[in-house]
Amino acid sequence: MPLTILRNLYRQIVFDLKEFLLNIQEFFFFSVRAFVTFPKVRTYWRDVLDQMTICGTDSIPIVLVSSISIGALLAIEVGNLLEDFGAKTMLGRSTSISVLRELGPLLMGLMLSARFGSRNGAELGAMKISEQIDALRAFGTDPVAKLVMPRLVAALVMFFPLTALSDYAGLHSAAYLAEHYHKLDPGIFWNSVYPRLLPKDFVVGFLKAPVFAIIITLVSSFNGFSARGGTAGVGRSTIKGIVVSSGLVLVANFYVSKIVLENM
């Protein structure tokens, strides 16, 4: 009896491992196809514009809310800490580094993973389940070129201004809280920000934008394209897309920072 259980467990592990490796392989080919179809951007420029509105303009409120909140929170917490050491004048420096390098892009990535990624997963999953993706193929249209490439191009373009907006809003909310909560003169705050910012602070932040754009778009779209099992399947693939892309955004955030900071 225990031997049978062990054998079944072994088979299940082997099966799951095979599934996982096959998924990785399929994802790789799917990603290559998405990039290979880039020359068709002129054919699908309307779809690209639509997606730029969805992932860019429509995402502004959520990016603003998250970056303003984190900027304000950082100003309060770091300000309290620096006050204990009598170094409150360094508040601008410490919050600007945190916002520009790490928290601004990271929060934006997580918010867009939830917003843009979930939309992609649900929309493409529903299209898969209702055979609309098969219909595209049946009518001689490459579904990756029509549905995934415009999303990828739009995300690659729009994540830069969203990162800039996130940085701007985060820094200004921190400056506002520094002035009104910690009674720190705005001149002192900004004087500790601008002269001390280095090119690498911007490179780290802005390099994350295209990395997150690729991760969020491809993972969510791939999961949408892989949806099966009716509406419940669409739900499962959407959740999987958000969880995996959020996890990868966190991991990528660490590695981009590490690589850039070690080499600049």
Binding site: S130, Q132, A135, A138, F139, G140
Partner: protein, 244 residues
């Protein structure tokens, strides 16, 4: 002409098609009859190259499409229109945009020409006044007619229908069957109709293949179906609708 030669297909452990061979001549309406879940829709997807067989070959006009790349298949698929079981209309596009999708997407015709051709299909399918609505606003029968219009608009040589009357009320079913019958008279088209409703076969098909337990057990002109001695065919002739 479409030809399947010794095609077999399995999903995991489940064998769907066992070494089947099938021919669909131009300008004829061929029905593929069989119970639900037996692999009839799979045959249509094989004909379009949407899925690959485990063994055997699929020929379109004598060309083996089994191992063609996706980009090479697009040319082949442009000879055929497909009406999916659930219609698969693009739900973010209006009725006229759905019908004109292929013309705008692949043929890059001038907008004036697209509008003329879409207008023809709208009239043919009896959908005047509904051009600017989204598919969700239409009844099941009307959606089916939109799907037929979308499949016909680029003048394909063959149209593949996946359960064209399934889930429709008798009046809508009759309209759809009349529409399918009129295809041949109006456009000299060939068609493959996958169905589990035997009356549909006698109403529109010139010939019929019966698929049972993954094998073709009958493949001849429709009239000869009555002469078959196969127990399954005898049972479906008496029951009319296959609910197995």
């Amino acid at each position: 002409m479409i030809e399947l030669k010794n095609v077999c297909l399995s999903y995991g452990d489940k064998v769907i098609l066992k070494n089947i061979s099938l021919k669909v001549q131009d300008n004829t309406i061929k029905a593929i009859l069989g119970p639900s879940g037996v692999g009839k829709s799979t045959i249509l997807k094989l004909m379009l190259g949407l899925i690959k067989p485990d063994c055997g070959s699929v020929f379109i006009d004598g060309r083996d499409i089994t191992h063609l790349k996706e980009s090479e298949l697009y040319e082949i698929r442009r000879k055929m229109g497909m009406v999916f079981q659930g219609n698969a209309l693009f739900d973010s596009l209006t009725i006229s945009q759905n019908i004109g999708f292929f013309l705008r997407e692949n043929l890059k015709l001038p907008e004036k020409e697209v509008n003329r051709m879409v207008g023809e299909q709208i009239r043919f399918a009896g959908l005047e006044g509904y051009e600017d609505l989204l598919p969700e606003s239409l009844s099941g029968g009307m959606r089916k007619r939109v799907a037929i219009g979308r499949a016909m608009v680029f003048n394909p040589r063959m149209i593949l229908f996946d359960e064209p009357t399934a889930g429709l009320d008798p009046v809508s079913s009759k309209k759809i069957l009349t529409l399918i019958s009129s295809l041949r008279h109006n456009s000299n088209l060939g068609a493959v109709i996958v169905t589990h409703i035997i009356d549909d076969v006698f109403n529109v098909a010139d010939c019929v293949a019966v698929l049972y337990q993954g094998e073709i057990i009958f493949d001849d002109v429709t009239e000869k179906l009555h002469d078959s001695r196969h127990p399954f065919i005898r049972s479906i002739l008496s029951d009319k609708i296959l609910e197995l």
